[in-house]
């Protein structure tokens, strides 16, 4: 797939809704993970989902006594960079249908 060039501001991506290849909403951008590969720091993964917000809050919130009773989603999608199209930063897209994406339970981290 064609990956366009250009610069993107991560802080502008934060919180943006991401849709899959069929237009269905997958979740919101909550984190970008990077690794050092061949001496370069590159983005390897993007974390999406309502639950991914907890990652930023440290996940502790899920352990507060009252939160257990709240209907909060505890999953997030972790998407490898190659499946994400950021060419239009206002409308980021995932290049696969939602059902095929890797879904992780956040409080088991």
């Amino acid at each position: 797939m064609m990956s366009p060039t250009g610069e993107v501001h991560i802080e502008q991506l934060l919180g943006r809704r991401v849709r899959d290849i069929d237009g269905a909403v997958v979740g919101r951008v909550e984190e970008l993970c990077a690794d050092v590969i061949n001496g370069e720091t590159v983005v390897t993964e993007i974390h999406l989902g309502a639950a991914a917000l907890w990652e930023r809050l440290g996940g502790f919130a899920l352990h507060l006594p009252f939160v257990r009773f709240l209907p909060i989603a505890r999953y997030e999608h972790r998407i490898p960079w190659s499946l994400v199209d950021l060419s239009d930063p206002e409308n980021p897209r995932v290049l696969q249908p939602r059902a095929k994406l890797r879904r992780v339970r956040i409080d088991q981290d």
Binding site: E11, L14, G15, R56, L57, G58, F60, A61, H63, L64, P65
Partner: protein, 408 residues
């Protein structure tokens, strides 16, 4: 415990006690005692309990994480989320600061008979000058040692011969016999006066200014517990004085000019001057503390250089912040905003906005990345959470009712 730590505890307690009372706690306790006798004792106790926990948490947070609360809040929650508590705290605390400066000016009016708006500019200038020239330690210790004059309230309260039985019964929350809207409004004001976010935000910056580390955790616990406890005891003394002197005659606290009568019937003319000194020093100290607290909040939130221990040339934007804040607060006084009314409003607003400042802080206090093994226990979380939510609910309910009912 080593001698040096004992000394630090002693100093910390002294500064807490000396710094605890300010126009909010004085007037709300007085109004509570005047209107409802000993019945609202529980609100002073609960408010003191909550702030003691928050102060301990604040010190523990700074000592373990080496971050101040605003610093950690921006870092943890991001600029967008942080902007909400930032704006709310700036607005509400500015009103509180205007009330404190008004209290300082009111004390000067009581002393000189020159009307309080006249004192706006001198009060602002003196406040600014002290922040400009003094170091953190000088302010903390100097002003708060002077603040020990507020012990006069405890002395007067004991001499007044209160009904200790009724006082003890008042420690349990009860429903009001009369004027329920006013009762809850006064309770809310008492809570807002005790649990001021600017206090525990300030405390975390102070701990960093004084280079606290984990070895200070014990000192911190003693200072928070005994310091705040004793401070709350002084608030209670004022409530007692009002309960003994004002309540039986149905006398209310309608103006700050009524306040000296909490002390003069018991201690005579010297009592008047001690009261004036107490009010002046307590409000002056609070003005400085709020100005610094808000300047810390902004400077740390934006990542500027900050520090009262730095000379102004080393942190010009920080100095600019407290200068602007003092000027803004002084405008209220200059235009004659009644200190008592300003106090009532700002205390109620503080209660209403309490969860906004407290909840993010609680998230931080449970984050092992900052605190490691020193995260909050369930009890601390539960107490702080329940009291702040309760304060908010009461405020949201009682403020409109109070406004409709025409106030008290």
């Amino acid at each position: 415990m080593k001698g040096k730590q004992l000394l630090q505890i002693a100093l910390g307690i002294v500064t807490s006690v000396g710094g605890f009372l300010e126009i909010g706690s004085i007037t709300t306790a007085a109004q509570a005692g005047a209107a409802f006798g000993y019945q609202l004792t529980w609100s002073v106790i609960i408010g003191t309990l909550c702030i003691a926990f928050l102060i301990e948490m604040s010190g523990r947070f700074a000592a373990c994480s080496k971050h101040t609360i605003p610093d950690a809040m921006r870092e943890r929650f991001g600029a967008n989320a942080f902007s909400i508590p930032l704006i709310v705290m700036l607005s509400v605390s500015l009103l509180v600061m205007a009330a404190e400066m008004g209290g300082f000016a009111a004390a000067l009016e009581l002393a000189t008979s020159v009307k309080f708006p006249f004192w706006a500019v001198p009060a602002a200038f003196v406040s600014w000058f002290v922040l400009w020239r003094a170091s953190f330690g000088m302010i903390e210790n100097g002003v708060c040692l002077l603040g020990l004059v507020t012990v006069v309230f405890a002395v007067a309260a004991v001499k007044a011969g209160p009904d200790y039985g009724a006082l003890a019964r008042g420690a349990l929350p009860t429903l009001p016999h009369t004027s329920p809207a006013h009762y809850w409004f006064v309770a809310v004001s008492v809570l807002g006066a005790s649990v001021s976010p600017y206090l525990y935000y300030f405390y975390s910056s102070g701990a960093i200014e004084e280079h606290w580390d984990k070895s200070y955790l014990g000192v911190n616990r003693w200072v928070a517990g005994i310091g705040m406890g004793f401070g709350g005891f002084l608030s209670l003394a004022i409530l007692v004085l009002a309960a003994v002197l004002f309540h039986p005659n149905g006398q209310d606290v309608g103006s700050y000019r009524d306040l000296p009568e909490l002390v003069t019937p018991i201690l005579g003319r010297p009592g008047f001057w001690l009261f004036v000194a107490s009010l002046a020093i307590a409000c002056f100290g609070a003005t400085l503390e709020i100005a610094l607290s808000l300047a810390y909040l902004v400077a740390q939130g934006f990542g500027w250089q900050w520090g009262e221990d730095l000379p102004p040339r080393a942190d010009a934007r920080f100095a600019l912040m407290y200068t602007l804040l003092i000027a803004a607060a002084a405008l209220f006084v200059l235009f004659g905003a009644d200190p008592l009314k300003l106090t009532q409003i700002s205390m109620a607003l503080t209660s209403a906005s309490l969860p906004l400042g407290v909840l993010p802080f609680l998230v931080l206090m449970n984050d092992r990345r900052y605190l490691g093994e020193h995260v909050n226990g369930h009890i601390g979380n539960a107490i702080v959470l329940s009291i702040s939510v309760m304060a908010m609910v009461l405020a949201v309910v009682s403020i409109p009712l109070e406004l409709i009912g025409g106030g008290g």
